[in-house]
Symmetry: C2
Subunit: 323 residues, 2 copies
């Protein structure tokens, strides 16, 4: 490959983080800008161009960028558009791929954050060499990226892989941000853990360190802190969360029979507190023909780099610009 670098851009509602990445997944240099600073998308693109160009020049990477990969909420790989963007300050749809490639003169590919994470794991992370795996991102929400036979599953419209919105409680499920009830995301995200904490504290009477906190302010981090101090209720919150996730993974296996699930995000840092019940529920609930064949892996990418790395990996797959 004649051009040795790619640019990864992770576009969030608050910050846009970007970096220059080499073929081995080293982030050569990175920086960020505030996403919502500009009310006109063209001003945002201009600042992004200015800052990234500064990085490129400072790192002797002029004319060495193979492509730009962007991970953004609801970004569509096929159309290059952000189709719905409730958290961005500009009207949708946004022709992001076109805007960026015109400004930079470099080919661009975009996809949503969870798909970018999956491509990142496949290119630089624990999923290297795996042809069939499912990435699950456990953050504020629950996202997923599915790889089948070495290829990202985009679906006919570019929106495949919304496993955070598979229904895990058909009756009396929690309301979800998507407008429905009972989604996996409402239970197994960081906010889901906090909701479970509030539910358990209200329904039950046992003592718990969590009772020292304002109930409406409890976060998944608080639950973790209590659990590692031996708090029984906090541990049960992780058991409950992990069991629901493991049961869901068992169902997902019946779809694409992956060789691994790759988990990523803040919740995985709780270690065995969450991974043990996930593994137990997965083993217990999986169809016998898959049993013992599916590995449960945790991303090894540094969390601060992961989003940029994931987006950058897509930069290797861009199609050349039309002359």
């Amino acid at each position: 490959m004649s051009k040795p670098y790619v640019i990864g851009i992770d576009m969030g509602g608050t910050n846009t983080v970007f970096g220059i990445v080499d073929a081995r997944g080293t982030v050569i240099a990175s920086n960020s800008i505030k996403t919502a600073k500009h009310s006109d998308i063209n001003d945002y693109i201009a600042e992004l161009h200015e800052e990234i160009t500064r990085l490129i020049v400072a790192n002797d990477a002029v004319d060495k960028i193979h492509g730009i990969g962007i991970g953004a909420p609801n970004a569509n790989y096929f159309t290059g558009m952000i189709e719905y963007a409730p958290n961005l300050p500009w009207p949708s749809p946004i022709p992001l791929s076109e805007l960026v490639s015109k400004k930079f003169g470099i080919p661009v590919a975009i996809t949503n954050d969870a798909n970018a994470a999956a491509i990142g794991e496949m290119t630089y992370g624990v999923a290297r060499g795996l042809k069939d795996f499912i990435m699950i991102t456990l953050g504020t929400g629950v996202g997923s990226g599915i790889v089948v036979n070495g290829q990202m599953v985009y679906g006919h419209d570019g929106f495949a892989g919304e496993l955070g919105h598979v229904i895990v409680k058909r009756k009396n499920g929690r309301t979800c941000g998507c407008g429905r009830t009972g989604c996996l995301e409402a239970y197994c995200s960081a906010t889901g853990v906090a909701r479970t904490a509030r539910e358990f504290l209200e329904i039950r009477n046992e003592p718990s360190l969590l009772r020292n906190l304002q109930i409406e302010d409890i976060t998944s981090k608080d639950v973790y802190d209590a659990a590692i101090q031996g708090d029984k209720l906090a541990k049960e919150i992780f058991d409950y969360t992990g069991t629901i996730l493991g049961e869901a993974l068992a169902d997902f296996a019946a779809f694409s029979s992956p060789e691994a699930f790759v988990l990523f995000g803040g919740l995985t840092k709780s270690g065995d507190l969450i991974m043990k019940p996930v593994k137990e529920a997965l083993d217990k609930n999986i169809l016998p023909i898959y049993r013992g064949k599916v590995r449960l892996l945790i991303s090894e990418l540094k969390e601060s780099d992961a989003a940029v790395l994931g987006a950058s990996a897509l930069g290797w797959e861009v199609k050349p610009l039309q002359a």
Copy 2:
């Protein structure tokens, strides 16, 4: 393509049906033998060879067979083996692909029945031209074949696409043949419909034509016959079945965002009785970004030909024999 025909073999526990098929999906000739007649698999293969050769000769197809495709329970595309075969009279694993290709001197590919059905729909049926769809076969069991980006999803081990064993009732679910409880198959297969009938008749007190039958002998056909005579309870059984199926399909959409679900099998003959609640539950439960984008199709392949056609379609994809 120099050789204009393929052979399709549908291997069931009772009968093995086979036929010569052309590129347009016309079954030129077909016949069947009893699967369980021979206690030695080699005798079975010998009879299959004799009968198929007879068909080939009678139809002027000698040296015109591109490949042989076989659909069989738990047949593995990657290994060419039947790995577990509780319904077949021979010990597993069975190296079916090798046995048949050696005997016939023609390349062979095998897969399970539901995958064969999906390939058949893609090659000759309602899924022609579709690159992303999910086939659901509603028979004695519930099977599935998933096509992503024009390719069959086999998974890392060849066993992907067991959507009949996704859990639809997490608590107090019906026992399933797989040894677990609450599987889709336990509700939405023909036997599932019969089980629902028995449950409803026991739990409820309303009059129903079904009460004229021996409760343990009721079949899904009986429920259909009662429903078209206007029997309210029988209609509710279809509503219940269709709603569970539609809810499950809504979840499946979140995986691969297919442009269509293709339903096949006896239950689809119940027409609107089953399809209306399926469609309603699908529309109601699907994630908003997919709403209105997923078509619900019914196979148009003649049921008597469908299994052979499906298997035969795989015959176009075989790799040439090693010299």
